[in-house]
């Protein structure tokens, strides 16, 4: 609490919602750098000679096909094609992967992976409790990470690390897994470290962040950042009731292999989804919120908001919603019932914000 953090209970973790002002934190990520404590995320290691094949069976994507040192966004689906979690997986080596689960889903992911690797020569280990995650996100994040690297070679390696790639590294004298990934729509790094070293890492990264003009950032601004970047949030856009095609995530489903949920998703892929995840932008300052009903110009209900906020960067309301396919046409005029008031919204492509 030394930084004035306002904490929130999130999936059983006491997490910083904000440190000072979430708008200032949001702005810091867009313009300089924000430093996030994301230790609530689940880290599950899958290792063994058939770890890649096991994950190909467990997830909708082909994890065996990516190179060591790369990351891949994928989905864990149930047999009906419903989404159990969305996750990023790092391929550490051909026989070793680190799966990052959403905090509220870590137990579900661990149970599903444990069950799905039974027929493979692979083991699943939950390392959530022993692993901390600190993210530096924003255009100045590379300079912050470089300032804590051992020497020029290490600084060059940080600069050369590609988006959605990872490598073992020494940062502030600590052994970490350094990944160029994030959930903000900016360039950024996620640093996985042994929980015992987490405070030392934070205490090195925080002054470096301040020196770069940045600040500590909490979960509140992480939500507005990811929404501007058009990234889905499990529990809002994704659930057991949504399939990847409705969520416009069909590109991550690789049907030309066998995996849990493949049959259901192969059928779903043949039909157009009844509703599609759709971007909406409004006017003024009043945001639509999750659960608000979307109406067409005739006043008929055609969808429901899954996430909404006043975009700090754009200064106008943005939202994601599941909308009937016929109505989810770019530039179409819709309305949202915001607690009894009908406000005009326009169907807009997302991401709402792209870094330049």
């Amino acid at each position: 609490m030394a930084l004035g953090a306002r904490l929130t209970d999130f999936a059983g973790w006491n997490m910083p919602l904000k440190y000072t002002s979430e708008l200032a934190e949001h702005q810091a990520v867009r313009t300089t750098v924000g430093l996030f404590d994301l230790s609530h995320m689940g880290e599950i290691r899958v290792s063994g000679p058939q770890a890649g094949a096991a994950l190909d069976h467990a997830l909708v994507g082909r994890l065996s096909a990516i190179k060591p040192g790369r990351a891949k966004y994928s989905l864990l689906c149930d047999a009906n094609g419903g989404i159990l979690d969305d996750l990023v997986t790092y391929k550490i080596a051909d026989d070793e992967f680190l799966v990052i689960a959403n905090a509220s889903n870590t137990g579900v992911v661990l149970a599903a992976l444990t069950d799905r690797v039974l027929d493979f020569d692979a083991t699943v280990t939950d390392e959530t409790g022993q692993t901390a995650l600190i993210a530096a996100q924003g255009p100045a994040s590379q300079a912050v990470i470089q300032s804590l690297a051992d020497d020029q070679d290490a600084r060059d390696a940080v600069a050369a690390l590609r988006y959605y790639a990872c490598m073992p590294a020494r940062i502030a004298g600590l052994d970490v897994l350094l990944a160029r990934t994030g959930y903000t729509g900016e360039d950024g790094f996620e640093v996985y470290v042994a929980a015992d070293d987490a405070v030392r890492l934070w205490n090195a990264l925080y002054p470096a962040t301040e020196a770069a003009g940045g600040r500590a950032a909490g979960l509140a601004c992480r939500d507005t950042l990811r929404l501007e970047a058009g990234m889905p949030l499990y529990g809002n856009e994704l659930s057991l009731e949504t399939d990847p095609y409705a969520a416009r995530l069909g590109r991550v489903v690789q049907l030309d292999k066998t995996f849990v949920g493949q049959e259901a998703l192969a059928l779903a892929a043949q039909d157009q989804p009844a509703r599609l995840l759709t971007g909406l932008t409004g006017e003024g300052r009043r945001a639509a919120r999750a659960g608000n009903v979307v109406l067409n110009s005739a006043g008929e209900p055609v969808g429901v908001i899954t996430s909404g906020a006043l975009s700090p960067t754009l200064g106008r309301p943005i939202a994601l919603a599941y909308v009937d396919r016929d109505e989810a046409v770019e530039a179409a005029s819709l309305q949202v019932d915001v607690r009894g008031t009908l406000l005009p919204f326009t169907v807009s492509p997302y991401p709402f914000y792209k870094r330049s």
Binding site: L17, A220, R285, R286, A309, L310
Partner: protein, 128 residues
Amino acid sequence: MSDFEYPDDLKYTTDHEWMKVDGNVVRVGITAFAQEALGDIVYVTLPDQDAQVESGTTCGEVESTKSVSDVYAPVTGAVTKRNEALDTTPELVNSDPYGEGWMFEVTVPDATALTGLLSAAEYQSQLD
């Protein structure tokens, strides 16, 4: 969170609103504690001019980036003034909750009959 100020000349409610009683006119806003808890305020809905509001019922909303919270009428009466500045600069509620961030004024029939309101000390003690 104890470094906020709670002016002694105001009355308070457990809903984190303050009132400044001046004759039969009661000016209403939210406390420093409330604005901090809500976070950056991006939109405020106030009761209409001349609307009749009833103590304990919802008469407006405060939206932060993350959440929407109801504003309750702390007293019963007619809305005789609303802070129009909040339409364009709702962040005044954060920066000056007892001053330029005031929300609306209610004219009551008899201000001496107001009951159930907390003093600054009583309000602070129930925050802990």
